[in-house]
């Protein structure tokens, strides 16, 4: 980024105003991003859905909908319901499968000047390994985010992400299956988030992202039935932000690898809170549904905050919460 001269230089004599455009670039897990704003898996489709609304080139990175080795149908509807300042979802990890993604979606994404990070999951360790191997060394893929925390599929993520032994096993297995930068996406449905952040670090992951959704439930009192066909679902949105912020703060202190903050970020102010408690990047999720331009709005808001505070580099706020 560096210095941008605003106003015109008249015959080399006069510079009206010099404004320093702050440097927003960050390096996460060896991935050079132009700014710390990423999309959260499952809220940004396969990326292309948002192209009519924002310039995808502006994003630090795009994290796409979770992929498994084979296509997955997902849960029966109703799959979502709104709750106070949040929403529950039980999509069930519906996706087209890694092979179809490479063939049908990735070519459309390659033309954008942003980093493509694929979120992956499986029902068993061999399936995690399989999807990682399919995506390894594919042109246009910058890194993998491993979902060990999705609460929606009975045989899926939850088991791995909330048990220290299986969490370690699956992360190590994926580590050995690919040379791509690895981000472990952690579940908040645990007693101590630092235990799992350390497991990710010890398993060779290059970063952790947190939090995934909190397991929740809602009931329609007229019909007395759960609002979701799956009965329970993952809570996201502003309602979970304080919990997410606390966990990001704890995790940042516990590990040396970068922490990516996720959870109810709707505005630049929210994102800055996460950066202050130690997140080196943030992911924007549910906000994309409410406001398709949320990511770009947040990038601009962070830039304004830095400029207003006479800061030239995003790193000057990361972890600088005053305790």
């Amino acid at each position: 980024m560096g210095e941008v001269i605003k106003g015109s230089r008249v015959r080399g004599q006069r510079v009206r105003k010099t404004e320093i455009k702050p440097d927003l670039s960050v390096n996460i897990a060896g991935i050079e991003m132009k700014n710390p704003v990423m999309t959260a898996s499952g809220t940004f489709g396969y990326g292309i859905e948002y192209a009519p609304y924002i310039d995808l080139n502006r994003l630090g990175a795009i994290v796409l909908k979770g992929l498994s080795a084979r296509p997955r149908k997902g849960n029966p509807p109703p799959r979502i319901c709104e709750t106070p300042s949040g929403m529950l979802n039980a999509i069930g990890l519906e996706n087209i499968g890694a092979e179809a993604f490479i063939k049908e979606k990735l070519p459309l994404l390659r033309k954008y000047d942003t980093k493509i990070i694929l979120n992956i999951f499986g029902d068993s360790i061999p399936e995690y390994v399989e999807v990682a191997e399919i995506l390894d060394k594919v042109d246009g893929i910058t890194g993998l985010e491993i979902n060990i925390s999705c609460p929606n599929v009975q045989k899926g993520g939850m088991v791995f992400g909330t048990d220290p032994v299986t969490a370690s096993e699956v992360l190590t297995a994926v580590r050995n299956a690919t040379s791509l930068p690895l981000i472990a996406k952690l579940s908040p449905n645990v007693t101590d988030i630092t235990t799992f952040a350390k497991i990710a670090e010890d398993s060779g992951c290059n970063a952790v992202s947190l939090i995934n959704t909190l397991l929740g439930m809602a009931v329609d009192i007229r019909t007395r039935r759960p609002m979701l066909a799956n009965i329970t679902g993952g809570l996201s949105g502003p309602a979970i932000k304080p919990v997410a912020l606390r966990m990001v703060w704890q995790a940042s202190k516990a590990v040396k690898i970068p922490v990516i903050g996720i959870g109810g970020i709707m505005t630049a102010d929210d994102a800055i809170e996460f950066l202050l408690v130690g997140a080196r990047a943030v992911q924007i999720g549910t906000a994309n549904f409410v406001n398709p331009t949320a990511t770009v709005d947040i990038i601009e808001g962070i830039e304004k905050y830095l400029t207003k505070n006479n800061l030239s580099d995003i790193n000057q706020i990361i972890g600088r919460v005053v305790i």
Binding site: P77, I80, C81, P84, N89, P238, A239, N288, V290
Partner: protein
């Protein structure tokens, strides 16, 4: 996108009509498409609400006809003239109009009338079009837009469950009776309403071999095909109501699972 609220009327009971100035939606909207409205500025309610486009006017305005059914629509009803509405649209796929067909049957249940008026206007641009409306609801207060359809010279059939207006019973029953003495082949059926009604309309139309399109409703997260929250079961797997629909060929829907 911002669109100024030019008027916001309480029609009767829980029914409201919102008129917005939106040259973009006016220019691009097709009957059956919808828009996502932000009903408040705070985080509760959080998500946008989908509404079908009810009408377009030459002054580049669009109209949304809605019924208060919960927190979101109640809040929407409090927004006043002069304010800007945060709106995304037009979204989704509208009704497909087969130009070879001149005889159109529109069947609505309650507030399901909303997208069908826009459709009727579009159909009536072809002067040879004959439009027949079947409109059913619980009570006469739930019967809307009759004057609009009269102006389009539609043949109108009404039923109410309590018999307070038109024939007593379900609109699908009235439709079934009319099918008995129908011998014309080139007819298209378009329907919007509760799922149970649509299932019955599909069954009756399919038995006669009539093409039938239905506009479905679903809880939506994003409205643009990203969250996969609004799916319905189709013959070839889950279909997104927002971007695969909201208008579907009735034969594509797995009615037993709806």
């Amino acid at each position: 996108m911002k669109a100024e609220i030019l008027s916001h009327l309480n029609l009767t009971g829980p029914y409201y009509k919102l008129k917005l100035y939106s040259p973009h939606i006016y220019k691009n909207a097709m009957p059956g498409q919808f828009a996502m409205l932000r009903v408040g500025e705070t985080s509760d309610p959080l998500l946008r609400r989908p509404f079908s486009i009810h009408k377009k006017n030459p002054d580049k305005t669009i109209e949304i006809l809605y019924k208060i059914v919960g927190k979101g629509t109640r809040l929407l009803s409090t927004l006043v003239k002069g304010k800007d509405m945060d709106i995304i649209g037009p979204l989704g796929n509208g009704f497909v109009i087969d130009k070879k067909i001149k005889n159109h049957i529109l069947i609505a249940g309650g507030i399901g009338i909303a997208p069908l008026l826009f459709l009727a206007h579009e159909l009536s641009r072809d002067k040879r079009s004959r439009i027949t409306l079947f409109l059913g609801a619980r009570h006469k207060e739930d019967i809307l837009c009759i004057q609009n359809f009269k102006r389009l010279k539609a043949r109108i059939n009404i039923s109410t469950e309590d018999g307070s207006l038109g024939k007593q019973g379900l609109i699908s029953e009235l439709f079934e009776v009319s099918l008995a003495d129908l011998n014309e082949q080139k007819i298209a059926v378009y329907s919007c309403g509760p799922n149970n009604m649509l299932r019955e309309i599909h069954r009756l139309a399919a038995a006669k071999g009539l093409p039938c399109q239905v506009s479905l409703e679903a809880r939506m997260g994003c409205g643009i095909g990203a969250c996969l929250g609004c799916v319905v079961e189709g013959k070839e797997g889950y279909e997104k109501v927002c971007t695969d629909g909201p208008v579907f060929d009735a034969g594509e829907v797995e009615w037993g699972r709806l």
